[in-house]
Assembly symmetry: C2
Homo-oligomer: 743 residues x 2
């Protein structure tokens, strides 16, 4: 129909003005592969593969060394004249920014939350004056800070070890799962956590240290409950700082094209506030909370305590991944700009080694700050030399400037942090747009954010990650599927519901299933098939067995006769209702092999027994597997079972558009046998349909031949009879039959 329609009705031409003419054989997969000489891919054995990947040469060794120590690559090529000046300028600028403006990093917060959880203030109470007012407890600050530094450095070491392991195992790809919506929700939750922790300081109230689920909410509630105890000096200083910082930042943003560099308002506010606090002696006069003492100099190397490892494993996992993800995503921005590539696993190893080393020197987990990277780039930095110089500047600042900040109010510092959170919170505005574009992505955003607030950042990230992966599985599991029909005069098959001029080939159902078939969705796949064909193959089979059993009983009783052409009822059709229709009849008893009975039943005609056997209006089912990207063993087993179930009720199942690697999978899993043959696979749906239509035609011709022979045997001239009765089309068929008979 589709194949010949093109001749009778010349197609209208679309804009492009060209037409599509194809004449080729109908291909089953097998015929196609044979005719076009499919080459099988050479499969290497495990041994060959090992030999290949472990082979060693001098060049290869050098490349490995350079991968591990990239400085060997770039330092010998350093162009002193061109680059050194740039690097110095850039290094100094970056160092100054790094000293003056401490941009808020997510990782600091995550480390902080671990430290606070594992070494809360309560653990270091020396004396408590019958503590009803929380302010009256005395805390051993020295012991507390020592414990906290130990925890932070142990965490750094563990993060380093994990990163090194990740890098060595080449699982840098893990970062791919940190999708944009997930990162958005997570950082917003992190901002909320920071906000709550800093709000406490601005109000200068203490709260209990809450742990675990919902701790941040409890802290927030208690902070507001205790808000009455606030120190007015701290609160006013904090609020002023927030207002000033946010206003100036707004101006910076609005006039960014007119002013050469943004006003470093944080630095200005900090210096002024420190000066005021020193001048008025806020601590003594107003009991304000000030920074008090900043340790100078450097701590000697300390062995981190490895027995803390088990407590902080989950957190350090999150931190390791997040720190790495931030660094790589910033790196990628510049890699694209400057046309180089980032080796994700090399980065992992670099961070790992650096953190392991830092862990022994009471250092903090290392990551990347986007703002400082931007400064280094815009001021013209060329190589890592700029990084070394900026580190030197920070070093000098730490040694020299610490003393000056000691009178500063803590609430001012906290307020500076809060003022910098605006951008993070503004991410919430993305959600409505996201919802319009993709509901799933919006849900990932909200879920990750809510979970990170409820469970804490580490478990929240993990929950978000798993949820994100689940949505992928769900999207695969609830795939779109539809029954297809053909667009007349073309080889195109489309969703029957979507088009007006669409027709379903007679006796054939076509089903397209747009997803992998695996353990998670085989049930759904079976349901799709059932609802496309309109009946349940197993149920049809059981009912037929039931009916057969009853027919057999009737034959034994002599009320029916089985002949070659079917069953003849001796008792007439009025006697049908011999037995009640038991729906719950035991199929065990029905287990009579149909071949022994040798009854030919036309299941679509009216049956002589009163069993409600569903009608099967089709003889073939074509599964369009063009969008099936993989199969697992459960999927293959289910497919096999489906084919068998349909074959039992005389419906053939054909597969179209299977990809080559899926055919291999089917072979491996023992899909094929004498009933499920490889010639059931067709190249396209249209190939399968043409094949089926041809089959029908062949059968018609065969029937005609038999009829003609019968007529001749009866002594009649078949042609006379035929010509009188047949329509033109029927005549064509008959005619061909005669010709075949003659040859």
């Amino acid at each position: 129909m589709a194949a010949t329609g093109g001749r009778s009705e010349p197609p209208r031409l679309p804009e492009c003005g060209c037409s599509y003419v194809v004449a080729r054989p109908v291909y089953s997969e097998l015929a196609f592969q044979q005719q076009h000489e499919r080459r099988l891919p050479e499969s290497r054995t495990l041994r060959e593969r090992l030999a290949r990947s472990c082979s060693c040469s001098r060049k290869r060794a050098l490349r490995v060394v350079k991968t591990l120590l990239p400085i060997l690559e770039w330092l010998p090529k350093y162009r002193v004249k061109e680059w050194l000046l740039c690097d110095i300028v850039s290094g100094v600028s970056t160092g100054l920014v790094g000293t003056l403006q401490g941009p808020f990093p997510v990782v600091s917060l995550m480390v902080g939350s671990v430290v606070l959880t594992m070494a809360p203030d309560e653990n270091f109470v020396i004396s408590s004056s019958n503590g009803t007012a929380l302010n009256s407890t005395t805390i051993d600050f020295a012991a507390r800070d020592a414990a906290r530094v130990l925890i932070a450095s142990t965490l750094t070491l563990l993060v380093g070890i994990l990163q090194l392991i990740f890098g060595s195992l080449q699982i840098g790809f893990i970062v791919r799962y940190l999708a944009d919506p997930l990162i958005g929700g997570f950082t917003t939750a992190a901002a909320f956590q920071v906000f709550v922790s800093q709000l406490k300081i601005v109000l200068n109230v203490s709260t209990k240290n809450y742990n675990g689920v919902l701790s941040i909410i409890y802290t927030l509630v208690e902070t507001f409950q205790n808000a009455g105890n606030t120190n007015l000096a701290d609160l006013i200083a904090g609020l002023l700082t927030i207002i000033i910082c946010m206003a100036v930042k707004e101006l910076n943003d609005r006039f960014k094209h007119k002013i050469p560099i943004p006003i470093p308002i944080e630095v200005i506010v900090t210096i002024i506030a420190a000066a005021i606090s020193y001048g008025v002696d806020l601590e003594k006069n107003y009991n304000a909370g000030i920074v008090k003492s900043i340790p100078r100099g450097f701590l000697p190397p300390v062995l981190p305590s490895s027995n803390l490892f088990s407590e902080m494993l989950a957190s350090s996992f999150s931190i390791a991944v997040v720190a790495y993800a931030i660094a790589v995503s910033v790196g990628k921005v510049y890699a694209i700009k400057y046309d180089y590539t980032i080796d994700g696993n090399q980065e992992f190893i670099a961070f790992g080694i650096s953190n392991i080393f830092s862990g022994f020197f009471s250092c903090f987990v290392a990551t990347t700050a986007l703002s400082r990277t931007a400064v280094q780039e815009t001021t013209g930095g060329k190589t890592q030399i700029a990084g070394i110089i900026s580190a030197g500047i920070v070093l000098i600042a730490i040694v020299a400037l610490g003393k000056l900040l000691e009178p500063l109010q803590k609430s001012v510092l906290a307020a500076v942090v809060i003022a910098n959170l605006k951008g993070m919170f503004m991410q919430v505005c993305d959600v409505p747009r996201l919802w319009r574009q993709s509901k799933t992505d919006a849900i990932i955003w909200v879920f990750t954010c809510v979970m990170s607030i409820i469970l804490g950042l580490d478990l929240g990230l993990l929950a978000g990650l798993i949820f994100g992966l689940l949505t992928v599985v769900l999207r695969v599991q609830f795939p779109s599927w539809n029954g297809l029909g053909s667009i007349p005069t073309t080889d195109i098959y489309k969703n029957t519901k979507n088009y007006k001029n669409i027709e379903e080939p007679e006796g054939v159902k076509i089903l397209r299933f747009s997803s992998p078939i695996f353990y998670g969705n085989v049930d759904g796949f079976k349901k799709c098939i059932k609802s496309t064909v309109g009946f349940d193959a197993t149920r049809v089979h059981n009912k037929r067995l039931q009916a057969l059993k009853k027919i057999q009983k009737l034959i034994k009783k002599g009320q029916l006769r089985a002949t070659k052409n079917g069953i003849i009822s001796d008792a007439g059709s009025s006697n049908k209702a011999f037995e009640p229709d038991e729906d719950v009849e035991d199929p065990e008893e029905l287990d009579i092999p149909t071949k022994e009975i040798e009854i030919q039943v036309d299941w679509n005609s009216e049956l002589p027994v009163k069993v409600n056997v569903p009608k099967v209006p089709i003889n073939s089912l074509v599964l369009d597997c063009g969008a099936v990207s993989f199969l697992d063993i459960v999927g293959v087993r289910s497919l096999r079972m489906i084919v068998k179930e349909f074959q039992r009720i005389d419906v053939n199942v054909y597969f179209a558009s299977l990809q080559d690697h899926l055919i291999e999978k089917l072979e491996q899993c023992g899909f094929f046998d004498e009933n499920i043959r490889k010639d059931m696979l067709f190249l396209t749906v249209h190939d399968a349909i043409l094949y089926l239509q041809n089959q029908v035609k062949s059968r018609e011709i065969q029937d005609s031949i038999l009829e003609t022979i019968a007529l001749i045997q009866e002594g009649k001239d078949p042609l006379e009879l035929i010509e009188a009765e047949l329509t033109e089309e029927e005549f064509d068929v008959q005619d061909e039959a005669m010709r075949r008979l003659a040859s």
Copy 2:
């Protein structure tokens, strides 16, 4: 080429003997949808959907009530005459089996492990006689058992609540993720756990109660270390029981067709062992561990303690899911056999309510035992009446028979359990076959098994579940992809590597990507494209900008001239190397809009500057999206970026075979604009290729027209010149150009 080849070379016919002839217009998605009157699906608003699903009618209400209380459905239809006798016979048999043979259920074990973890013996030590020997501690058994019953019943309540929640939220589908390999690995690990716990009892040695990671291994090691302290009477009784039970079970299995019912060896052994123990007084004479006291009667309802909930949440989650999964999988076997359907969520609700109720009566978590279900079915049970009767039998047995078993050795009971584990352990033999068929599935099996042993059953199941889902994500993430070429004289496009007679259309690359495009694999997708086309679009663009900048400099210096037809070097080609090729040049400075320069550069010719601009050998990229089953927002954004990057370097990107719902997704996410138009989408790859070939032809004609005009303007007769020079094909093109010019 493919379109016209059919005419010149008649195709050979394959076995099926039919051929494939199609003549239709070349369709872009847009043209096709217009011509064939695509119907848009009616999208209901949230409100309408709510109204629809919340609408209420008497019939509907009745259906809901019957769903909640299925007894209203079946009891009024009960056929007393036919079914009652069957139900009584079946109920009595099932009750007897249930009493005599306690088949090993996974759920009991999981509950037991929670109970032992939360209320270990150590918590109930009254006096310990300077305990070096573990046997000398005295335990407050009454308190211990009371605590354990409380824990078990609280667990039952919590499991019930979870199941009710799952059922109400309609997440019965969660069970689909319990794939066959996962269940196999999990039950084998469970069998191992049971084995270790029972081995301890057979040897009559005590061990510490280990918790958490690897506890089962520690227990096993300590059991063997203490094996010297074993009680010989218990050990011998245990070993004998194991040997006898396994031997008789083997016989049962071998002669199952010859003996009417299997020998209930467990019952026989138990009775004999109890008799011997009572007769010889094993407890006094040999210090054997006996059952001692079985409480009779029933406990009054007790309020479970809800403050244990948080401790047992993870375990009860696993138990809720596993108990349900077992029940549903057994149910499905019979649903298929008797042709009814199981409503997964109704089952969840039923288990939930039953467990919540039981929780208040010191009961155990309910699930299904396959063996007893089989007994009920084979003995002819028809309805739930049989279940009530069998429950009555068990009730009588509990009240009457408990006393008789008090002298039984515990080691005999443990040995009976061990003897029943054989089948579970035999599952290990599945693994090699699984490995041959599907490596991923084999790895899921092993991973779940190992994790369940290391982490314990609850966390192990969770780990296996997540790992299984991860493999799905990984299979989606590392999809197969390949460059396509056309099979001459057909409309078929196949992997270029797999076929001998395959050709790639000139200037076009075709890429097929067989998986969804989402956040997890966009990087991989970009890499696929890069490696298919052979260059990096961004890099080409950056290099071109670099070259342009240099050319502009040269033009300023007067060493080059920009004309309409390109760039003319005044200084000759020898002067090319004015500047070094800086690879790390700052693209910021290159940010010169190309339109301002208005230089036409033929990038594939040799450039007058020494910048290494990669050649772009193609003008079009066709992405075959037939196997892309979904897109997320990250995927759409990446696709958009890819199209833009290629358009910048004058390569057009076309999409073929996109499914309808993906086109909608693209629209929702704002994929299209004035440069990315909907007519870039084609119905099939062949449509796109035909369109492109036609475009090339049109351009040739246009060029010819211009050339002809130029000739005419120069006063020459174009035809004379042309005919002398052109090949036949070129002449055809020229001829058509002339005709168009004339019209």
